[in-house]
């Protein structure tokens, strides 16, 4: 037990030391430039989806963590849903809604999504695997992924109007890739 702890501490120490070295060596690529971690989740059809290979033909992807019991989450996703057609026409963006509902409310996800006619890809994360891997503290938490799969923006909260800020960020991405 004690051995394990010392090993861990030394590994960590090395880790942080090396982090600084790497930072100084390579300014372009840093450790915190990150991609979506690869976790296997099921979609609402019961199929396994590798989150690491989510892609959208070089166009941006929004990953939004939500739950059926989270009022601001539903407000955010319903608001975006009303504008989704325009957003897709203008930027080609795709939204992946990751539900963190556990067994208590997981079965509500499909009826809710269908009744609201969401056009999003919906993934189920009932035991918080992707939530943990992406460092999400609480929902709603929205990530924006650029065409190369890099996480370029994230926002934890939803207040009416936040969708405009998100859309501005998407436009920044698509406009810079057009140049």
């Amino acid at each position: 037990m004690y051995m394990m702890k010392t090993t861990f501490i030394s590994v960590l120490a090395a880790f942080f030391l090396m982090t600084t070295i790497v930072y100084s060596q390579d300014e372009e690529k840093t450790l915190l430039d990150k991609k979506v971690p690869d976790v296997q989740l099921k979609n609402t059809e019961g199929e396994t989806v590798h989150t690491g290979s989510l892609e959208n033909d070089g166009k941006p992807i929004i990953i939004s963590f939500w739950a059926t019991w989270c009022t601001p989450c539903k407000k955010e996703l319903n608001t975006i849903n009303d504008m989704y057609i325009d957003w897709q026409d203008e930027t080609g963006v795709r939204l992946v809604a990751v539900s963190i509902d556990d067994e208590r409310t997981k079965n509500r996800v499909v009826p809710y999504v269908d009744s609201k006619s969401w056009e999003y890809q919906v993934l189920l994360d009932p035991n918080g695997e992707l939530k943990r891997a992406m460092g999400v503290n609480n929902v709603p938490h929205t990530f924006l992924i650029d065409g190369e799969g890099n996480i370029v923006y994230s926002h934890n909260n939803y207040a009416p109007g936040d969708e405009y800020e998100l859309y501005d960020k998407i436009l920044e991405l698509t406009e810079s890739s057009d140049e």
Partner: protein, 552 residues
């Protein structure tokens, strides 16, 4: 010796890390809750000796292609008010190494996992509740063939975190779960719009028998299966689990088998969603320590079949918690959108949701059974065989309508009956029935500024328990980074005049992308804080609470 190891590790890892780091990535988060509390005689709140309290967590995950590793530092100096008393000190609460490719996924150290609905096995974390029954051991998941997933777990569960160190439960938990996705084998199913998944699980725990009174089974097995069917827009899923003899503190050391079943059926289309659920549980408390109580070291998870309410008075005063010793419960849920443009629906359409949930005592037949004979089988029971004793009933309706570009209105009504002899939330006897109404109004001033207000009233039938309550909330948000809110709660109808207490609080928060800082000041009502059917009692308090969270 130890130093040599450290040095070796250091050199080795330095070399490895330098070459690897360029490609890997780090992610994680940080969360801190700080409280400064004062004494308040009206609510019997005393200032703690330390005056201020803090809980802090930092998760760091590293991934590089298939390799993964992570740690979580935790600090309770001391723990915040109402947090379970098994947490103190600072240290490493969670660490793991792992490797993953298309075939295998191996984790050594601490891990979380769930089999099926979790009824047989669920290791998870709910930090807000102080719930964390993570495993310490090894997990190997295999995908040997298309459509086949094999999960295996072996380890001991975290019981407490004392002086900055994890303590694990005495029992060892071993489990295996095998799942088949039949659509991967028979593509015709998908063509015909069918989806079928079948799975089976086995979980066993070992705990040494130190009891002098009984001969206890040291190994207790639990097994069962589940099936998920879907055809077009219909779905039906269910799981049935049997648990072998497991005498414990929870079931008063009886030798009955336990059983539990969960069934869900649903249908959905544009504008309509319907969900029906049923559950029958008997003697299903399953922990990796037979003497454990409260929320400690649970192996299985029994989801309550009730809607998760979010409005303050509905969520905190009379919530329901699953009864592992036995309950028979049903739930129906309907979500409907009245079409836009219709007379009833208005310009934008109107959302209506209805929910009904109920739970009863299961019937335990004792005819012909002598409770004190050597078998110690205390009763006989059958699935869905219920008595007339009500544990819980909740009928609620919500209507939401956007009136125009500026105004959105929500009306809610709840009728909740809760058997306090079973749930024991307060000292009141019998069933407490309450009517709750909530009016929720949102006004958009412009693109970025929004005001929202809630008016809530709770009235108990015959003025039982603490009588009538009201809550008013005003919230002002400036997108994307500020929020302000004020909440005023009053127990104005308490039958005892001096307990008619008011609880005012104010909150302010600032958000920078993935970073969030929030401060709240005022008097907070005592209440049950529940997530996913697990609850923690938080005593009344008066003071300042600051929450900081950051993701990276």
């Amino acid at each position: 010796m130890k130093r040599k190891i450290i040095a070796l590790c250091f050199v080795f890892s330095s070399l490895t890390w330098t070459t690897l780091l360029g490609q890997g990535s780090i992610s994680g988060n940080l969360e801190t809750v700080y409280q400064y509390l004062v004494s308040d005689s009206a609510i019997n709140a005393l200032q703690p000796d330390e005056e201020s309290l803090i809980n802090s967590y930092m998760n760091i995950n590293y991934r590089n292609q298939g390799f993964k590793a992570g740690v979580r530092f935790e600090a309770y100096m001391p723990r915040i008010l109402g947090y379970p008393d098994r947490f103190d000190g600072a240290g490493l609460g969670y660490r793991y190494f792992g490797y993953e490719n298309d075939l295998v996924d191996i984790t050594v150290g601490n891990f979380y996992e769930q089999f099926g609905s979790g009824l047989i096995f669920r290791a998870y974390e709910d930090r807000a509740l102080g719930f964390d029954n993570m495993m310490n051991g090894i997990k190997v998941n295999l995908r040997p063939y298309k459509g086949v997933t094999l999960k295996t777990v072996y380890g001991r569960q975290r019981f407490s975190f004392v002086d900055g160190k994890n303590n694990y439960a005495p029992g060892i938990v071993r489990g295996v779960d095998l799942e088949f996705n039949l659509n991967e084998w028979f593509p015709k199913l998908s063509e015909k719009k069918w989806r079928i998944t079948a799975a089976g699980s086995f979980v066993s725990k070992y705990q040494e028998d130190k009891n002098t009174q009984y001969v206890l089974p040291e190994n207790t097995g639990s097994y069962g299966g589940r099936l998920e069917l879907a055809y077009k827009k219909f779905f039906l899923n269910g799981e049935y689990i049997i648990k072998e003899q497991d005498p414990s503190q929870d079931n008063a050391f009886i030798y009955n088998y336990g059983k539990g079943i969960l069934i869900n059926a649903g249908y959905s289309q544009k504008g309509l969603g319907v969900l029906l659920s049923a559950k029958s549980i008997d003697n299903m408390s399953f922990r990796s320590d037979r003497n454990a109580t409260l929320q400690d070291v649970t192996v299985g998870f029994i989801p309550p079949l009730t809607k998760t309410h979010t409005y303050n008075l509905v969520a905190t005063l009379y919530p329901y918690a699953s009864q592992p010793n036995g309950e028979v419960a049903f739930q129906a849920d309907v979500i409907y959108k009245i079409k836009r443009g219709s007379k009833l629906g208005g310009k934008y359409g109107t959302d209506v949701s209805l929910n009904y949930s109920t739970a009863y005592e299961p019937l335990k037949r004792t005819a012909g059974i002598s409770a004190n004979d050597s078998t110690r089988v205390a009763y006989e029971s059958r699935l869905f065989d219920k008595s007339d004793l009500l544990y819980w009933r909740d009928i609620n309706v919500q209507i939401k309508r956007k009136l125009n570009k500026k105004w959105t209105l929500k009306l809610n009504y709840f009728n909740i009956s809760m058997n306090n002899d079973v749930l024991k939330l307060t000292n009141e006897k019998g069933i407490i029935e309450s009517h709750i109404g909530v009016l929720d109004v949102e006004y958009k001033i412009n693109r970025k500024h929004t005001v929202r207000a809630e008016l809530q009233g709770l009235w108990t039938v015959n003025n039982k328990d603490r009588g009538d309550w009201a809550t008013a909330i005003v919230e002002y948000t400036i997108s994307p980074d500020w929020f302000f809110s004020a909440i005023f709660q009053s127990n104005y109808g308490n039958p005892i005049a001096e307990d008619r207490i008011n609880y005012p609080m104010i909150f302010v928060g600032k958000i920078w992308g993935a970073t969030r800082l929030q401060a709240g000041y005022g008097r907070q009502n005592a209440g049950l804080f529940c997530v996913g059917g697990v609850c923690r009692f938080v005593p009344a308090s008066n003071g300042l609470t600051v929450t900081f969270s950051h993701s990276f």
